[in-house]
Point group: C3
Chain length 343, copies 3
Amino acid sequence: MAAKTNAGRFFEDYAIGQVLEHAVPRTVSGGERALYHALYPARHALYSSDQFAQDCGLSASPIDDLAAFHVVFGKTVPDVSLNAVANLGYAEGRWLLPVYPGDTLRSTSEVIGLKQNSNGKTGVVYVRTRGLNQRDEVVMEYCRWVMVRKKNLDAPAPETVLPDLKKVLSVEDLVIPEGLDFTGYDFTLAGEPHRWGDYEIGETIDHVDGVTIEEAEHMLATRLWQNTAKVHFDLTFRPDGRLIYGGHVISMARALSFNGLANAQMIVGLNGGAHANPCFAGDTVKAWTEVLDKAETSAPGVGAIRLRLVATKGGAPFVLKGEDGRYDKNVLLDLDYWALMPM
Amino acid sequence: MAAKTNAGRFFEDYAIGQVLEHAVPRTVSGGERALYHALYPARHALYSSDQFAQDCGLSASPIDDLAAFHVVFGKTVPDVSLNAVANLGYAEGRWLLPVYPGDTLRSTSEVIGLKQNSNGKTGVVYVRTRGLNQRDEVVMEYCRWVMVRKKNLDAPAPETVLPDLKKVLSVEDLVIPEGLDFTGYDFTLAGEPHRWGDYEIGETIDHVDGVTIEEAEHMLATRLWQNTAKVHFDLTFRPDGRLIYGGHVISMARALSFNGLANAQMIVGLNGGAHANPCFAGDTVKAWTEVLDKAETSAPGVGAIRLRLVATKGGAPFVLKGEDGRYDKNVLLDLDYWALMPM
Amino acid sequence: MAAKTNAGRFFEDYAIGQVLEHAVPRTVSGGERALYHALYPARHALYSSDQFAQDCGLSASPIDDLAAFHVVFGKTVPDVSLNAVANLGYAEGRWLLPVYPGDTLRSTSEVIGLKQNSNGKTGVVYVRTRGLNQRDEVVMEYCRWVMVRKKNLDAPAPETVLPDLKKVLSVEDLVIPEGLDFTGYDFTLAGEPHRWGDYEIGETIDHVDGVTIEEAEHMLATRLWQNTAKVHFDLTFRPDGRLIYGGHVISMARALSFNGLANAQMIVGLNGGAHANPCFAGDTVKAWTEVLDKAETSAPGVGAIRLRLVATKGGAPFVLKGEDGRYDKNVLLDLDYWALMPM
């Protein structure tokens, strides 16, 4: 009987080169946009106003880049992380095309790395996931690696294959949306006067604002992305509290970063990310940013900025790791991404 | 002064043949769809992707069948169940036309049965409710009976009329949406390989997943359907806790049933249903299904399957009633419906 | 570093005649409408059904007037009330054009009054705020005055300028939407039979229903309007509880007033308003109304009615102020507005 429900894949079920076609395509609309703005204090103008987006050379205001990421990511959960012990990392994330209301997204993942752990009970699976639209164009892609349980401990260990992933995307790797032009950028409507040239490598910004998280909110968000991992919803499964989807913290921190980075409009690259500590309802999420790098691009008036975005649940800003090299207990997220700003 | 507010109808206010035109028509959009996906872990592909729905012969992805039901039902509350003591049953529910974004729904109910209870204080009212779109086409209909208080205990008892309602709709009663064609059905995108032929009558499926319910969520849902029954919202009216709208449990259980019934795409018939026990915030809803019947249809590749969907708030799956014939204390919902699956 | 985040304006930063162009324009869609109906028990038919609105002479169902107000208001917070000690009052609020899905709104405010308080530490700032659409048409405007802290106590006091604001808008000040025609108004679909002629000046209506408010709900609402004032979101900032955005109470009370005022369809004027006491999660909001005035208009079948809408969190209806002239401790809101009704 239980055979009809999805038990998820175990470590021995993956093989190098395997392509997983994930289920449940999704058409997005203004409804997803409105909910994104209700769930997060998102205010980047390009994702709020059709007119502002058109003045920047796009056809309309896209769905938030992170909303597109969540939709693509959510579909992978039943095939990749249902039996995951831990979400270990991200790399080579690239946004290749804006997603507009009316677009239909689906996801596929290719297994690009495998390594059984020495305990023989778990292994690490590396996948490259792609989100495609209704024209089969890739709208985004990223690599992720997770630790997955073995079900059959006698299954032989696969040959170890470790993918060669870039620690950091170079500016040449980034794809600037066609037509994007910041030469007529309206800083007043965007909310802050600071342009690309005003940020210095090494500079840190405390985004000041905080949001205390409620159970209803993170569950609404996680369901919206059709991510149905049990740990986020079922208190009887995890009596110490429903674990908040890491993507909820990413979106919350990014939205909070508006205050100081209102002009870091579009996310185009994800270099890496760690969910340093679990987040639960009742935590108050705050965020700070460190400017890691800057680069010019070929698009008119468009600069690229590499940012470390850190979400915390307490403590002082700018504290990341202890002397032992481990994340401070208040750090929830350490995310390394590239964004596009007006020069 | 209070004369201007709606006190609702009492038992003596109903008469056989009476037609109630319910208020507040409603235009639905992608917003309702996005909210439905945020409120419930809904993943049936036909209701998630325009492209998938078009590949099945529809013009676009419809609003979830249960969302259409909730919109139609919500409008009846001020006229039918404001003074109801209990919602006793459903029968002969049929979905006749898909509801698409842009459609405007309204509801009417005809009184088809009346029976005063022997205590002289309450009576049972049977109504047949129809939901209509902006072209005055009936999109769905169902019968419901509720126990309603008398206000004037001296009002004479009406002649008892008990409608002759089918215990179960036959497959000939079901209406298959025009153009529906499952011959090219994509099982991979739908999420599970199990087709109509893979299910056996008597088979039971534990849907495994659970959701712990929050106050904010059920109130958002119930308001969205413009159901304003006081018991769901006002803690001062019902200090033991806000009673959760039974339809919230129906939608939650149906969405959870994706895990094992991902291909039971469209709901076309409601044979009956009982809200066995009240549901409150904090309860963790799980679900199981029993296959009650199967039938072929005239549409290409489309089979019908009759399912008993049971929602629980604890206990083991597959426990329905005790030896005394009463529902187990953990059973929230016992719903009997017909769905359409690829053969 | 902190220089890049918005510290808000202090009293000495305002000058008479100054025009503040507020940031983050916003395109609204069916998503905002669906969320409005999920957040509030809103049932006015003109804002629920395209068909009903078209039968009243409009092109489609507009976004709720208060949703338009919240969108316009939310944009002003970073420039006007980030350092406000208190929101003191509203006047001369007028809705000039309906807002439809697809419209893009932005806001500007002009400083029209300044008065430093005798303590030398704070002052009162009066602004006239306008909301504009993508065609630069003014869709609504209102005056608001707030008490704002000085940062530099040595800054000289500005010349006192007190704007001459109308205590009450006259019916000639109100703008009736072009084409509005209530001569074919469908009272059955609207939900109540009471027309303009059925209401008497001095009449009071207890709206009966109540809603117990949850944290998640008011935060979703407040974020949706891109109002990011810290007091509404950050429990560590205000440990006695997150203060609920006053506009959430306005919308809740207005929606509750459907029960008794279902035909007070469109809000066209805001004469004044006071947030009498703070509202916190757990409070149960109820509402009552007093009819203050009535007037005919030039539009076919359209009457204007001036209403005092009072929201409470307990106590009996119709209690407003004590013998000392101060608001009763249970009064949350005292709002004076003009609405349009079928005659």
